[in-house]
Every structure is written in C-alpha cells, then in structure tokens.
Symmetry: C2
Subunit: 211 residues, 2 copies
C-alpha cells in the first residue's frame, strides 16, 4: 500500500463517485470542484488535495467532466472490473448486505452466503445460495471469491476469519464487534455502526451547549 495516501482519502473517493453518479442522473456533464465539495459538505481544497494524489483531473476554470472523473475514480478504486464476494453469517445484517443493491451497482457481486443454521442452508434467494460453513473453502475456490464479509456473532468471528484466510481470502470486511487477528497480508476493514451514531450524539450535545 502506498503509505502516503490516507485511508480517509480512499473512503472519500467513494463519496465523490456517488456524488458524480448523482450529478449524472441530474443530466450534468461537468461539475466544478466547488459544486462537488458543497454537495459533500467538504472544502474544495480537500477535494482537490484528495484527487491530486492520483494525477491531474479536470480543467482549470471549467471543472470536471462527470463521465471522465467517474471512469478515473473507478479505475483508482479497482472498480473497472468485477469482484466476487461472499457473506459469512446469514442473519438480518448478512441478508441485508447480500442483497445490497449498491454493491452490484459497483460491480461487486455477492456470490454465496454461509451460515451455521441448518434451516437456512441449501436455500437460494435471489441468486444467492446459503451454504454450511464446511463448504467455505470449496465454494470460495469454485466461485473465485476474493472478498469476504463477516457478520457472525463476535464469539465465532475469529474462527471464521481463520477459515477464510486458509481458504485464500485476503480482503475482509468485518461487522463483528471484535478485533480480528489476521496475518499482515490480509486487508481488514472493520465496520462499527456505533461510530456513525456517536457522531450524531456528539453533535447533538454541542447543540445543547449552544442553546
């Protein structure tokens, strides 16, 4: 990984992409950095700085071509191609993520799900089959899956991460509220809904102080 590029920049690139899709839907072909930045409530300086890591985009005094910048960001994020992923844990969250339209729109395709519950196994819903955990290794190989999403309870998350690693997975999105010990070469991203929610409580508390 290029150490000079902050993780936040990469996350923001996704937001830029989403904003560009929005402007495209509104039939806008060109946007200024001010418009893009305003849309996302960040500073134009931040936007230009983020993009400058990857090259020179847009024309001074004109702005960015939406379709061109979409292609550029997709290429940076590896979204010019398709990715296969699986979901381990087919509870409420696992189901929500399996059918999350946003993934497929970006070319990230959930190919399989796994769950320990026998009642959920061997059923296919909207093209996604739920397999028993014993099949993780064989299905990942067969379906050429490179990304795994963990939504199992925290008690079993570490063991699942181990099985996924042994199955060749090198990129994990982890929703289990636990620190996973994965080898250095595994790209791990934790998602914690609490962080998003406590940003709201922080801001609400500030507001109350102002009143």
């Amino acid at each position: 990984m290029d150490r000079k590029i902050p993780e936040e920049t990469i996350i923001r690139l996704s937001y830029y992409l989403r904003a560009l899709f929005y402007f495209t839907e509104e039939n806008k072909k060109v946007v200024s950095s001010r418009q893009l930045a305003d849309f996302l409530k960040i500073s134009p300086h931040q936007l230009r700085k983020d993009l400058s890591y990857f090259g020179q985009f847009g024309k001074k005094g004109v702005g960015y071509s939406c379709p061109k910048l979409i292609d550029n960001i997709k290429e940076i994020l590896g979204l010019e191609r398709e990715w296969s992923a699986c979901v381990v844990g087919f509870g409420n969250l696992g189901r929500a993520l399996s059918f999350y339209k946003g993934f497929r729109d970006q070319g990230i395709c959930i190919k399989a799900a796994f769950d320990v519950d026998k009642n959920k196994q061997n059923k296919t819903i909207k093209d996604i089959t739920v397999y028993p955990l014993e099949k993780i290794k064989s299905i990942i190989k067969k379906q050429n899956i490179t990304i795994a999403i963990i939504t199992v309870p925290k008690e079993s998350a570490k063991q699942i991460a181990k099985i996924l690693y042994e199955s060749g997975i090198r990129a994990i999105l982890n929703f289990a509220p636990i620190k996973l010990d994965v080898p250095e070469e595994v790209i791990l991203k934790d998602v914690d809904f609490t962080c998003q929610l406590t940003y709201l409580t922080y801001r609400l508390k500030l507001l109350e102080k102002e009143d």
Copy 2:
C-alpha cells in the same frame, strides 16, 4: 459545531473508545499512546492530535488511564447520558440495527421501529414495537426520541426525512442510498457500505500491481 474539529477526529474517538474497552477487558488499566495507536493501526501522532482538541489527557511517560480516558471520551461524545432512537424501515437492515448490541452498550436505546408493511406492524420483538408510519410523530413525542435511523428504500427516504423533521427529529443516520434535503439544523450522517467495500477493492488492486 466547532468547525476546527474534523469529523474524522470524532469518528476516531469512537474507535479509541472501542479500543479502550478492549484493553479494559484484557485487564489493562493504563495504555500508552503507542499501544492504542498500534491497536488501531494509526500513528501515535494522530491519536495525540485528535485528543489534544479536547484537552490534556494522560501522563507523559506513563500513558492514559483506561477508565479515565473512557469517561473523558464518553463525555466528549455525549455518551455520559442515555439517548433514545428509532428505526424507520423494518427490513433486514432495520431489524439488524434495531437489535444491534453495540448501540445499547453505549447508552443509545432503540425505542421504536416503523414500517409501511401491515404484516410487520403492531408486533413487539425484544422490547421493540413496530408501528405504522402514521404513528411516527406521536411515538417520537411520547417516547422522547431524538435520533432517527432511516433504512427505507431510496424512493421513500426523502418523504420519511420530511416527516421526521416535522416530528422534531434533528439527528438522522441515513442508510438509504440517496441525498436527503434536510434543513440546515438537522445533523445528517450518511452510511454507505459500498465505501467500506471499495476500500478493499482499492487495496486488492494495489496488491495485484505489486505482484
């Protein structure tokens, strides 16, 4: 809002809090900034800079007292008190969030859920009752709810946001993949799973280039 404090700092405070809980569970009473930073794979400089916005914590050469720093961060984030929230949209994601243990652990209590589907309405699961949308205003008032989580499809998200605003809600966590037009005074945070996942595809692509 104090404009000088970046949103990313607030989000990282949540991560620090989570890490401190982890160290506490491991019976650690004091941690150094290096240990905390290593745990979260950030630089000690970043950690110290984030905390410095809010005062002087820890002792030079000794580190941070875990219980004290937990209390300090909880106070900054407004988590020294309880918050009441509701979930609008009781699909897979709505259900997952309604029963998300992490919220309750932080004193954020989901008090009610709302859904347009008659089959889901007027049922109570684990203390959470699902009400029809028509009841949003009255339940929010009755239950003193200050935070709303939107998980409805994007087609109805704007209308829901309007109803929530009219019901007095000033903090919204939005999972619908759409830009909500809310008045300036509403604190809005969008969550998009695609951003987390494309961070993985970005890193995977970098790895392939290196090979």
